[in-house]
Symmetry: C2
Subunit: 427 residues, 2 copies
């Protein structure tokens, strides 16, 4: 098994330069063909997904996790649309991001180039297979996908469709390599393939990410849990705040940009918390509230520090009444995961304090946490949401899968034109 | 010892937010004061450096390594000037690098924020102490410096001067923490301080970098060796090429952007190699040349693959006659270290092929490899030259010590305004 991982990774590395050499027009055409191939294979993918769902249900998989795994016509159409959208994005490769002329006449350019080979290790959501493949190829990279066993059939069906289009286009399908799940052994080998793999992106449960982070020799961008907060300020529009709360908590509780904690300023708690409790309870959300907020929220259970730190990924929410904005910031810095935080306020200076006081990857003012997503932020799609403050932070699109290098144009400049050139004395 | 590293790193982390909160004007003022303090302490620093040099010579340290360690009035002035230059650079923190408005009215900004706490592990060159401290603080970070024992006194004297200015400015000096050398044990602990240190930058010999890379749990940006190439094309201006060769090889052979290998196109070898041999030999450079080039270079020794892969850091050069540009590219991809490569050519299409064919961090057209340096490329100074294709690639200035995050401004947008909000059925 081990040697298979290495040899397949080497095949991906060997195939990657051909992707890097495609120009913008060619890559756009390739990705549209891949999207079309995926659309044409929709029925097969849905059949494969049904198989995965049956197995998951037989294993007693929970509601929200099952939701992450499930595909239907609508979600398939969204996956295909995302690949088309990625195809039509501006090509990041070759972009000149900065230019300057030095006093000595040197012209310095910073130019985007592909990273090389990117390994994506993920669980559950089969759309990641298509998104990650399309984004990595758009950025001129080879990609190694290692999905979870629970989505095995779905991932295989999606990859098959994409690879078919690549082969027809004349690109070695090894540039998109899908490793079949074989426990964590193949992850262990994959994340140590220095000189073959340039970056590993783990995306999934905390256990998976810690496992990768602990064993990786290859650079890792971590996509840790999303413990996202909504803070309702003293100056909030409470109707607006309620909409953000319901959208953030209930429209898809199983994803990382769902809200997990509600913080409410004492001045508006009396009015807001009973309304929030009613709206959330009506939608089946279990409330876990602090001492001060419980009297305002019938049905609320007591909350613990573990709840404040938890990524429920389910219809549960932690609630805390805070004295002021400062206490909200302290709470988020202590319990948050640097993913996404939201403030509802009409006070621009409170918004500014909230933004400056937090170093989370995404900070929203009067907008739902559910927009913390590559597609929604204009990246076409995302390969993950980095909670590592390095290389990329927050939703990562194609641009995040490139690196800027220096290209310098001169006409004979040397560093020491005036200095007589002599051998150093010590020799 | 161990608990000291951890507690000192925690003190740095606690001091860092005060640096992050300084505005651009304050940071500029602070850094100018630090530069002045360093100038005022020049005599002490030079005395400390003399002590380090004596010890190094007693240990039999080699010419080029001794050169890296040595400070004199000129180099001290350059170090002070670099801190002033960093002070006057545009502040990267708070820069809005991208803005867009989504169809739903959301305004998306990407905004630079500090990384947090940066640990710099380095050897020999004491100027790194000042450069790294200034760059990290400019970018709003705390910095932990762990220099090599050979520069112990120099580093301590430089850090003392800088910390004095910080204290006078009202900034906790722990934001610039210098760990005294204590073998590799304190490195081992430092690079595993997840949640305290955000980034480790090792800069020094291959042994040090491999040690850090193998043991780090914290993200690492590696500054591996510089095996820099000059390729003299068939269409080169040979006088210009000779100047690039002499500047690149002989003006400071002990640094990573010095040339290590000369590749010459067969069409110009007859004319160029004897001139190159004469000019290099005259300056005390030992030649190690391939079979085809040795007849054109009197005194040249045979070259080996080990020589091609070597970072000599000394007055030695490997020479190879290549059939064409393609062979030069293949050679560099095989033996290079992704640091800096130079082409001498008047043929724009050859230059383009060279740039596209290589993925090194810096590619120069008709300019000396010695410009592969933060100061020379306009970054004010550099904290290192990344040969890791992640986060930063090539010389790293203050901007490379920040990360872009998302700030989103809305007026109540929610993700699912049309969808009736219902609890998911599976609960």
């Amino acid at each position: 098994m081990s040697s298979t991982v290495r040899s397949r990774a080497l095949a991906c590395r060997a195939a990657a330069p051909a992707v890097a050499k495609l120009d913008a027009v060619q890559k756009t055409a390739l990705l549209h063909r891949m999207a079309d191939a995926l659309r044409d294979a929709s029925a097969q993918v849905l059949r494969a997904n049904a198989e995965d769902l049956r197995a998951a249900q037989a294993n007693g998989t929970s509601g929200a996790m099952l939701d992450r795994l499930r595909l239907d016509e609508t979600r398939m159409a969204a996956i295909v649309a995302a690949v088309h959208a990625i195809a039509d994005l501006p090509d990041p490769v070759g972009q000149i991001t900065q230019t300057s002329i030095r006093p000595n006449g040197l012209r310095i350019e910073k130019v985007r180039v592909p990273l090389g080979v990117i390994a994506m290790i993920y669980e559950a959501r089969p759309n990641v297979t298509a998104d990650a493949a399309a984004l990595c190829l758009k950025a001129g990279n080879g990609v190694i996908l290692r999905g979870g066993s629970e989505a095995r059939h779905s991932n295989r069906a999606i990859a098959n469709a994409l690879q078919l289009a690549m082969t027809e286009f004349g690109i070695d399908a090894a540039a998109l390599t899908l490793l079949d799940d074989a426990g964590r052994e193949n992850i262990l080998e994959l994340v140590q393939l220095v000189d073959i793999v340039d970056l590993v992106i783990p995306r999934g449960g905390e256990g998976l990410i810690r496992f990768v982070a602990e064993h990786a020799r290859v650079p890792v961008i971590k996509h840790y849990k999303g413990v996202c907060h909504l803070y309702v300020d003293a100056q909030a529009d409470l109707d607006l705040a309620l909409r953000l709360l319901i959208d953030g908590k209930t429209t898809r509780p199983g994803v990382c940009n769902a809200l997990e904690t509600l913080l409410v300023h004492a001045d508006v708690a009396q009015e807001f918390l009973p309304r929030a409790a009613a709206a959330l309870s009506e939608r089946g959300v279990e409330l876990r509230a602090c001492e001060k907020s419980r009297p305002l929220m019938p049905n609320a259970l007591p909350v613990s520090d573990e709840d404040y730190a938890a990524e429920f990924l389910d219809l549960k929410i932690a609630v805390r009444l805070v004295d002021d904005l400062g206490q909200a910031i302290v709470h988020i810095r202590r319990f948050g995961s640097d993913h996404t935080e939201v403030i509802a306020t009409l006070d621009a200076s409170a918004a500014q304090t909230f933004i400056a006081g937090l170093h989370s990857a995404v900070v929203m003012v009067n907008a739902s946490s559910r927009f913390s997503d590559g597609g929604e932020l204009g990246l076409g799609a995302e390969i993950g949401i980095s909670t590592t403050r390095l290389h990329a932070y927050g939703p990562m699109g194609a641009e995040s899968l490139t690196i800027e290098r220096f290209v310098v144009h001169g006409d004979g400049q040397i560093r020491h034109p005036q200095t007589p050139i002599v051998a150093i004395a010590t020799r």
